[in-house]
């Protein structure tokens, strides 16, 4: 049936992987595995072949899947997952990491053709979510998840669905406030034109009409859209701090009162359009500042990493229990690839636990019966049974989350530049205002009041309040393009302020699990067997890697003598072959000229004869070794949960020995950062796993490095795609540039204020001048910040 010659490697019609071994062919189409073929069959049976029309090979590889979904039948778990449920209908939103193209949208919105029990489904592409409404009677939650899984869209289920939470928190009425302010601003501008252009004598009745209409528009603008500034100013005054909100609120209040008095007493035109424009632009600035990459989650804790439910073994039954309800003393079963949810004692089974989540060490560790296994490890063998010894919230790993680093508010960590300036600004503003009042008061009381209010109006720091958000959001956009996603605009300033960089190793600067072992020298098959058997006895990560590389020894290899000296090597005898393995110091004579190499070396002596060495190279991320240039300006530290077998390799980047710290527990990392901060250093932490979560939170800027930004990454200030790690120096420089742009825009803003003040202190500020000056300064600031930021990005080659 196949028309393709066996020599050509074809790409799977479903997922695009190479079809290697067996051919799965149907309808003249090639599939790499049975899973992919199954999905195709299901889709074509239901007439959903359009899936393949919109994109080439849109599917996910389905080669290995072993889903345990029984927990989705447990009512207490269902309750937490669904959004709404009654007797007929359930609504649920799933996060599906695989959503990546238009085909995905199309297929996921056609679910009812696969199962009519599903009424409605809508995809949110950017958030990679699908919202599903289904009939309770005909299908259950487990069925829905299974259906999604059969077509290759396995949802990632977590009880802490942060994406949902973020969506809720965004639902304030900022957009509505902007709409109201913009609406009024537009109308007021139109109605103010006749006033500025002048009325003829017999049109004065229009003047009243327009004036009063304008005043009506000030009401919603001041008391709805701008009310937040009044409240903010009130709270800052109560707390006896001066922020930029105070002069803003003062300006708004003066504009409002003076406009009402002038128009009501028919003494002037008021400053209604300045008032509306001011609030409108301020809210726009707030909106821009708020712009975040909401499809990424920056606030994750251990609950997103741990399983949703745990299988608890009771006397004669097994049931699924939500993670939070897990109690000390319960017996639990953990299957292959599942994560151990709480500190527990191993009771039964062959435990081979991958602790890369916790320590960064990626080689699985064997555990013996009766040993305590810490939470966060991933079981790599068959099912094991454990007895819980500590509640989830107090286990070794999750204790971190009780640290104060997690409870403190993230946003007031550093005083931003504009906060610092606005203090002085407010003081100077008040002095100028009172001064001009005092100057005119003895001679001309009317003029004195006019100049006092005019100063407060014209100096209202609109441009000042806008320059930071607009610069930062332009910077945010540029970072985003370079796969560096920041939580919010304030993080740019945090990054600009740092002087110390702390790196985690595995997963951050090296690729997790990516190490290659190479044997330099020749070994016979028996010798290899013997070496492998010896290494199998050792839990040292290098031994484990060598063991993996050589393959497991044949059964009749017996290790007769075994002596391991930790940190140095192994002397052993297997099948009559005496073997010495380890560091150059241990294996060779102390002063031998050990071959200089970048990787870690394990030398081998067999029967007293030097036979060569194993090189073990970790795969570092691209550009990692360029980081050494950063040493000129920053202090670099390495914090690794790993053993120190890469020390030599990394010293070219981190320099002296004190900068590298190995075998650090998550708590150690947090403490280390805290120690640096107490010395007054501003620390940026780059880490990847759950084990870095505490340090990431504690650091002044926590950056989660990840290969796939849509996977779960620990809560942090920023998420960096691993491919862009080499751009880190440019990022750091650029964040400083952004700060310079802010300084520049502040200068411009002050210039405008000076021009305006020169009108104001003399008491000659007319509404027209105010109405022109305010928007012009705003537009200048916004265009200056975006142009300057883009130029800076070009200079740093980020654009």
């Amino acid at each position: 049936m196949s028309v393709i010659t066996p020599e050509t490697v074809t790409a799977c019609y479903h997922c695009g992987n190479d079809c290697e071994e067996e051919r799965y062919t149907i309808d003249y189409k090639q599939f790499c595995c049975h899973g992919c073929k199954e999905v195709y069959t299901i889709l074509s049976k239901s007439g959903l072949n359009n899936y393949y029309c919109y994109n080439d090979r849109p599917g996910a590889n389905r080669a290995k899947k072993d889903l345990q979904l029984d927990y989705l039948l447990e009512p207490s778990i269902i309750k937490d997952l669904v959004e709404y449920s009654d007797d007929d209908v359930t609504i649920v939103t799933f996060y599906i990491p695989h959503i990546h193209c238009s085909s995905c949208i199309w297929l996921l919105e056609q679910l009812n053709r696969l199962n009519p029990a599903i009424y409605y489904n809508r995809v949110d592409f950017l958030r990679k979510q699908v919202n599903i409404r289904f009939s309770n009677k005909d299908i259950d939650l487990k069925g829905v998840v299974e259906l999604l899984d059969t077509i290759g869209y396995e949802p990632l289920i977590s009880l802490q669905d942060v994406i949902k939470k973020q969506a809720f928190s965004r639902k304030d009425d900022l957009v509505r406030k902007i709409a109201v302010a913009g609406f009024c601003f537009g109308n007021v501008m139109l109605l103010s034109f006749p006033e500025y252009l002048g009325f003829s004598e017999h049109d004065t009745s229009f003047k009243y009409f327009f004036g009063w209409l304008n005043l009506v528009f000030t009401l919603p603008v001041t008391f709805y859209s701008g009310w937040g500034y009044m409240q903010a100013a009130y709270t800052t005054l109560k707390n006896k701090v001066l922020t930029i909100d105070f002069p803003l609120a003062l300006g708004i209040a003066v504009l409002f009162i003076r406009s009402w008095i002038e128009i009501a007493t028919n003494t002037g035109a008021g400053f209604v359009d300045t008032l509306c424009g001011l609030i409108f632009f301020l809210l726009i600035g707030k909106f821009v500042q708020r712009k975040t990459y909401y499809h990424l989650s920056f606030e994750r804790d251990y609950r997103s990493f741990f399983p949703v439910a745990v299988q608890v073994i009771e006397e004669n039954s097994e049931r699924h229990v939500p993670l939070a309800d897990l109690q000390v003393g319960q017996r639990i079963r953990v299957r292959h690839q599942e994560i151990i949810p709480a500190d527990a004692i191993l009771l039964k089974g062959d435990a081979k636990v991958d602790f890369s989540f916790v320590t960064g060490e990626s080689v699985p560790v064997n555990k013996t019966l009766g040993e305590v296994i810490y939470a966060g490890g991933r079981q790599m063998g068959g099912a094991i049974e454990l007895e819980v010894v500590k509640p989830v919230s107090q286990s070794y790993l999750t204790r971190l989350w009780n640290n104060e680093a997690f409870s403190r508010s993230q946003d007031d960590r550093i005083e931003t530049f504009s906060q610092k300036v606005s203090k002085y600004f407010t003081v100077v503003l008040l002095i100028v205002a009172v001064g001009s009042f005092a100057y005119w008061a003895p001679t001309d009381m009317h003029r004195a009041i006019a100049s006092l209010t005019a100063v407060l109006i014209i100096a209202c720091p609109c441009a000042l309040a806008l320059s930071t958000p607009f610069t930062m959001s332009a910077a945010l956009g540029i970072f985003d393009r370079n796969l560096f996603y920041l939580k919010n605009a304030a993080v740019v300033e945090q990054i600009a302020a740092i002087d110390t960089l702390v790196f985690d190793k595995t997963g951050t600067i090296s690729i997790a699990g990516g190490s290659n072992v190479e044997l330099v020298g020749e070994l016979s098959v028996e010798e290899k067997d013997a070496v492998s058997a010896v290494c199998a006895n050792s839990s040292h990560p290098l031994s484990q890697l060598i063991c993996q590389h050589l393959g497991s020894a044949s059964r009749d290899t017996h290790v007769t003598v075994y002596n391991e000296i930790s940190g140095r090597g192994i002397a052993a005898k297997a099948n009559g072959i005496s073997i010495k393995l380890g560091s150059a110091k241990f294996v060779l004579a102390a002063d031998s000229n050990a071959v200089a190499d970048n990787g870690s070396l394990v030398h081998v002596i067999i029967n007293s004869k030097y036979r060569g060495y194993f090189t073990i190279r970790h795969q570092y991320r691209e550009g990692m070794f360029e980081m050494r240039k950063l040493r000129e300006q920053y202090q670099l530290y390495l914090l690794s949960g790993d053993h120190n077998h890469e020390r030599g390799n990394l010293s070219s980047v981190f320099g002296d020995e004190n900068a590298m710290h190995f075998e650090q527990s998550p708590q150690d990392k947090l403490n280390f950062i805290e120690g640096l901060q107490q010395k007054g250093q501003k620390v940026m932490m780059l880490g990847d796993g759950l084990n870095d979560a505490g340090a990431l939170k504690q650091a002044d800027a926590g950056v989660a490095v990840t290969d796939n930004v849509n996977n779960f990454s620990p809560g942090s200030d920023a998420i960096l795609d691993g491919r862009s790690l080499n751009k880190l120096p440019a990022f750091l420089k650029f964040s400083k540039d952004a700060l310079h742009v802010i300084y520049g825009s502040f200068c411009i803003s002050f210039l405008y204020n000076l021009i305006g003040l020169s009108f104001a202190v003399t008491g000659r500020l007319s509404p027209v001048i105010a109405a022109i000056l305010m928007p012009v300064s705003t537009v200048t600031i916004i265009s200056f910040t975006s142009i300057a930021t883009h130029l800076a990005a070009k200079k740093r080659k980020l654009l």
Binding site: S44, K45, S46, G47, N49, N50, Y54, S102, I105, W106, E109, R122, V123, D124, F125, L126, R127, A167, V175, R176, A179, V180, F183, G186, N187, L191, D203, F206, F209, L213
Partner: protein, 53 residues
């Protein structure tokens, strides 16, 4: 010239209707997902042809 009172009244009323429409759209979540609809519109609803196959 007093027609201006009427005209301005009309224009403000009309503008209020648009503002109301915007509020309604906002409340209905029409601005929640600004991206997916732009893709969705490109997906043709092709007639089911599996019966002929």
């Amino acid at each position: 010239m007093s027609i201006i009172y009427f005209l301005i009244g009309c224009s403000v009323l009309l503008a209020l209707v648009f503002l109301g429409a915007f509020f309604w759209a906002q409340k209905n979540g029409q601005h929640d997902d600004m991206y997916t609809p732009s893709v969705r519109i490109l997906l043709d609803e092709q007639p089911l042809d599996e019966t002929e196959k």
